[in-house]
């Protein structure tokens, strides 16, 4: 096919005729030019039907032929829902129609159209509601009628990005007003970002007269000269609190889409006006086009939209479209002047295109193009988002901004009418005002920042708005109700549907919108809102002012999910020993941000080796806080439930932390390194939380306490050496006396390990074995680890992972906060009564724990050790515990493992206090089969070595 509908070169065309581009449409090979949109290339090739409508599968052509065209959605390669009126043609792309079956030209679902009057608004709600049991069947059938393209699940993910920006003035809209405002603001000293939705600056000047086009070029040059940052093919999608402005940039050189988060000091809203469709029978037929679409097609893309036209004109732009058409040789059969009361009734036509236009006087004119210029809609979305509630002006048939918002200004068509000079003068005044106000905002922001000396200058007076407002041009109100004409083209909602819905009681505009889905399609009301309101006003016998309008919410134009997600920067934390784990067969596990070895192939073997010989585990993710100051004991006494005043230098103690409601928050070991120097360890996942928690108490409750906290989690690598031969192993790497007498259980020593100074060693026993936890400067973590491996070969040293540690701690009966306790577990339920010291003056959680111990123990659960009667049954964690022989749920299993040491399953769980005594019989309901097994509560938490002989060895 040749470009049969391409005109001779036009003075303002944006296509490059020296750069032809091949593409396919619906399987046919076609050619367009660089600069074409997909829609303009299709029009140039004489394509008449671009899509089928959503509900009735009516044929659709070009209506606005721009971003907002409800008919222009196409599939491009593996990308669905591409806006053909906006997306520029690129070489070699495959473009296909959507929502057609079996083909665009012959669509069997168009039969829906025959029964269209039965498929009224709410049809789906009303028809498929009952019986509910049949909904899955209905859904399957209806799903095949759903519009939209197809998603290729194998397509390559695109590269998306985000950016932060802090312009003084952000201008939304790059037409004459937006450009003039941006220039004036920049020349007044502001940093300005100008965002234009379309591919070029210039707005409506791009399809205007030669003089208009020259003005657009001149303004664009001045914009560049003024140092304004210009983003084309980018949309200001939302304005949020404190002038937080979201910009979706589609024109980035590398990112498919980039979300710019701009903290603008002042936002100028200059989106211009959007042409409004006219509601009449057949208004969605191919060949019915809005005047702007016709003028863009001719001036920018040099395409011929038809051969014989009728122009329905309510304004100067309709008249101009008629002149443009005649200029390029299209026969203008008639101009129907709406201003003198003439009207059109119906566009008649065959399957593909308009063939004649029926007028109100009963006459009919043959034409294949019906141009409609029925008025304008002010896209006040960004003003809505800033809190403005636009007011309808009947004499102009459109809404205008109402409230003045301090740092959101509007100019251009949205603010009023005027000739080019008037519009530009108003915009320049707006730009200057914006720059002045931005400077005032800047002063406020600086004054809010702490500094040694006060801000030098007094706050400037808030710059007053002294702009002379723009005038308003009269425009006839061209609204029709009770026709079968479409109001919402995306959703196939006619004015009759709206009238019917209003009669059924959906007569508030917000209700009507949601019930009929009018204005809820991809154009998001840009084309449909005012017509919807007008039809409802007529149905209610009221005016548009009385009915009011729906509120436009973000986004102004759709943002892709990729754009919202952007690049994700997730910290991936590994210890300094990680390279060794990687090259020694670790099976990694992600724990919060940390990647650490879950095991090295055989967790049960790792347990046995540790219990028999010696094992080492990398526990670097352990949270570590360095505490200094004379008041550290006061802080520890406040945060932990037990007592810390008498901890000697060189002593180590386990502590449990609660929140103010008595619920277990965290636990860990803290050791005293010096007179005023302590090292606190926290759970690996609680490191950040405990730091903030401690700071909160210090800063807000006890600012007089002298304590300084430094998080040292990553400054120290931590290795636990556990097992009967751990003393022998460590003694080979340090000269510190490790004998039982010199270095007893729950004490610490500092010194040299494997040649590394400033190491901290403490004797604790999470695994239940004789063990030493060594904290070494993290630069030497790998060195010390390797030294332990090398020095202990004859002792059978082997690494163990998190899983082996979890098994051993369960054998030993040590609970894990957050695993065996939950968000409701009070410290008094954790089986650590000796650690709760109510005789302390105060500690966090004391009040609730005292009350719980006094009179609530009977209703609180207890953490207990449990064993099943059948030793080979390992219940799933979260298995329900019931009263034997009944379905009464008593509690749940919180931890469960097969113990390699005992050769049987071992559990920990929560049961009511009344059933917490050793020997109590329980029953477990196994998943998934519901089989029941008997179980018994143990006397102590420890399944293994309850006396603790091994760890005190």
């Amino acid at each position: 096919m040749t470009q049969s509908h391409r005109l001779n070169p036009q003075p303002g065309e944006v296509i490059d005729r020296s750069a032809p581009l091949n593409f396919t449409w619906n399987g046919k090979r076609l050619t367009g030019f660089q600069g074409d949109t997909i829609a303009s290339a299709l029009m140039a090739n004489g394509v008449e039907v671009v899509s089928r409508s959503m509900k009735y599968h009516r044929p659709r052509g070009y209506m606005t032929a721009d971003f907002w065209d409800p008919n222009g959605f196409v599939q491009v390669g593996d990308e669905p829902n591409v806006r053909s009126g906006h997306r520029q043609l690129t070489s070699g792309i495959t473009v296909d129609p959507q929502n057609v079956w079996p083909s665009l030209d012959y669509d069997v679902k168009a039969a829906n159209g025959l029964v269209g009057r039965f498929l009224s608004a709410g049809f789906y709600y009303k028809t498929f509601m009952k019986p509910a049991a049949l909904w899955p069947a209905f859904e399957k059938v209806l799903a095949t009628f759903a519009p939209g393209g197809s998603v290729d699940l194998d397509s390559t993910p695109g590269y998306y990005d985000k950016r932060y920006s802090h312009p003084d003035v952000l201008v939304a809209g790059g037409g004459p007003a937006g450009m003039a405002a941006a220039i004036a603001a920049a020349e007044s000293g502001a940093r300005v970002m100008l965002v234009e939705h379309e591919h070029q600056l210039g707005g409506h000047l791009r399809w205007g007269s030669t003089a208009d086009q020259a003005s657009a070029r001149q303004l664009a040059e001045s914009v560049a000269a003024a140092g304004v940052e210009v983003l084309t093919d980018s949309t200001v999608t939302g304005r949020y609190e404190d002038s937080w402005v979201a910009v979706s940039q589609r024109s980035h050189a590398h990112a498919v889409e980039r979300l710019i988060k701009a903290r603008a000091k002042v936002l100028i809203v200059a989106p211009g006006l959007i042409e409004r469709p006219y509601v009449f029978a057949g208004n969605d037929k191919p060949g019915v086009m809005l005047s702007g679409a016709v003028r863009r097609s001719i001036a920018m893309y040099a395409t011929r939209p038809g051969s014989r036209a009728v122009v329905f004109s309510g304004n100067a732009d309709g008249d101009a479209a008629a002149i443009d058409l005649e200029r390029v040789g299209v026969d203008v059969a008639a101009v129907i002047d709406a201003r003198s009361g003439a009207n059109i009734v119906e566009a008649h036509g065959g399957a593909k295109r308009v063939s004649s236009v029926e007028l109100a006087d009963g006459s009919s004119i043959d034409a294949d193009l019906l141009v409609v210029a029925a008025g304008w809609t002010a896209p006040t979305s960004l003003l809505n988002m800033a809190g403005d509630r636009p007011v309808y002006d009947a004499s102009c048939a459109r809404f205008f901004p109402s409230a003045t918002i301090d740092n959101v200004l509007s100019c251009g068509g949205i603010a009023g009418d005027g000739n080019f000079d008037e519009i530009v003068a108003h915009a320049q005044a707006t730009g200057r005002l914006a720059a002045e106000r931005a400077a005032a905002v800047q002063h406020r922001l600086q004054a809010r920042t702490a500094r040694s000396a006060p801000v030098e200058f007094a706050e400037p007076a808030w710059p007053a708005d002294v702009r002379s407002p723009l005038g308003r041009d009269a425009h006839p109100e061209l609204f029709q109700s009770s026709t079968v004409g479409m109001v919402d083209f995306s959703e196939d909602v006619s004015s009759k549907d709206l009238v019917l819905a209003a009669k059924e009681g959906y007569d508030s505009v917000e209700l009507l919108k949601r019930f009929t889905t009018a204005t809820m399609g991809p154009s998001q009301g840009k084309l449909e809102t005012v017509n919807t309101v007008a039809v409802l006003a007529d149905a209610r016998g009221e005016t548009i002012e009385e009915v009011g309008t729906t509120v436009w919410r973000p986004p102004y134009a759709p943002i892709s999910l990729g754009g919202l997600a952007g690049r994700m920067f997730n910290p991936h934390r590994v210890s300094s020993i990680h390279p060794w784990h990687e090259s020694n067969g670790q099976i990694p596990i992600q724990v919060a941000a940390w990647e650490r070895p879950e095991h090295y192939g055989n967790p049960a073997g790792e347990v046995t080796n540790t219990r028999t010989n010696v094992g080492i585990i990398d526990v670097s993710p352990l949270g570590k806080l360095d505490l200094r100051g004379p008041d550290v004991p006061k802080l520890l006494n406040l945060l932990y439930t037990n007592k810390w005043s008498k901890l000697p230098i060189g002593g180590v103690r386990y502590g449990l932390m609660c929140a103010e409601d008595g619920v277990v928050l965290d636990d860990g070991v803290t050791g005293r390194l010096g007179e005023h120097h302590y090292l606190m360890t926290t759970t690996s996942s609680g490191a950040a939380r405990v730091w903030e928690w401690a700071e909160n108490w210090l800063q807000t409750e006890h600012p007089d306490w002298q304590v300084h906290i430094t998080p040292v989690t990553t400054a120290l690598s931590s290795i636990n050496i556990a097992g009967p031969k751990s003393r022998e192993l460590l003694s080979r790497l340090t000269s510190i006396d490790l004998s039982r007498e010199a270095f007893p259980y729950m004490t610490l020593r500092t010194g040299i390990v494997a040649g590394i100074d400033d190491c901290i060693m403490w004797r604790i026993g999470f695994t239940g074995e004789l063990s030493y936890e060594v904290h070494v400067p993290s630069g030497y973590g790998l060195h010390v680890w390797q030294a332990l491996i090398d020095a202990g070969a004859d002792l059978g040293v082997a690494p163990f992972g998190l899983e082996a540690q979890r098994i051993m701690r369960l054998e030993k009966g040590h609970f894990i906060v957050g695993q065996d306790t939950d968000g409701l577990t009070l410290a008094v339920s954790a089986g650590v009564a000796s650690l709760i010291k109510l005789d302390k003056d105060d500690f966090v959680g004391k009040t609730e724990l005292a009350w719980a111990l006094a009179d609530r123990m009977h209703e609180l659960p207890q953490v207990v050790a449990i064993q099943t009667a059948a030793p080979t049954v390992v219940p799933t964690e979260a298995t329900q515990i019931v009263r034997p022989g009944t379905n009464e749920i008593l509690g749940r299993i919180t931890s469960s493992r097969m113990s390699p040491t005992l050769g049987r399953s071992i559990c920990m769980g929560q049961v009511p206090s009344s059933l917490a005594a050793g020997g109590t019989a329980l029953e477990l309901v196994l998943v998934p089969d519901g089989r029941r097994v008997a179980a018994t509560v143990l006397d102590t938490h420890a399944h293994f070595d309850p006396e603790g002989a091994r760890l005190r060895a």
Binding site: E241, D242, W244, A450, E692, N696, Q699, D841, W851
Partner: protein, 90 residues
Amino acid sequence: MLLVPCPYCGPRNSSDLRHVGEAISRPDPNAASPEQWRSYLYLRDNVADWNVETWYCTRGCRKYFKVERNTATNEFRDPPMPGNKIGGKA
């Protein structure tokens, strides 16, 4: 997104901070009645008006500070400068 006036770092995106909540005073743990204590734990005024709140400057100076915000308009009242005392709910 709110611009929160941190007294040390200056105005910052609220995503840089943690909203701790309404500023509240801790009753004497040894003298409080259960009603007083649980009011401290759980009850907040949740006014649609000026309110004293605590924020924590997570990504900045890591200071806790109190500031007055109008929860209906999201306006912050004169910024808390270092050392400024703003009282919380008794």
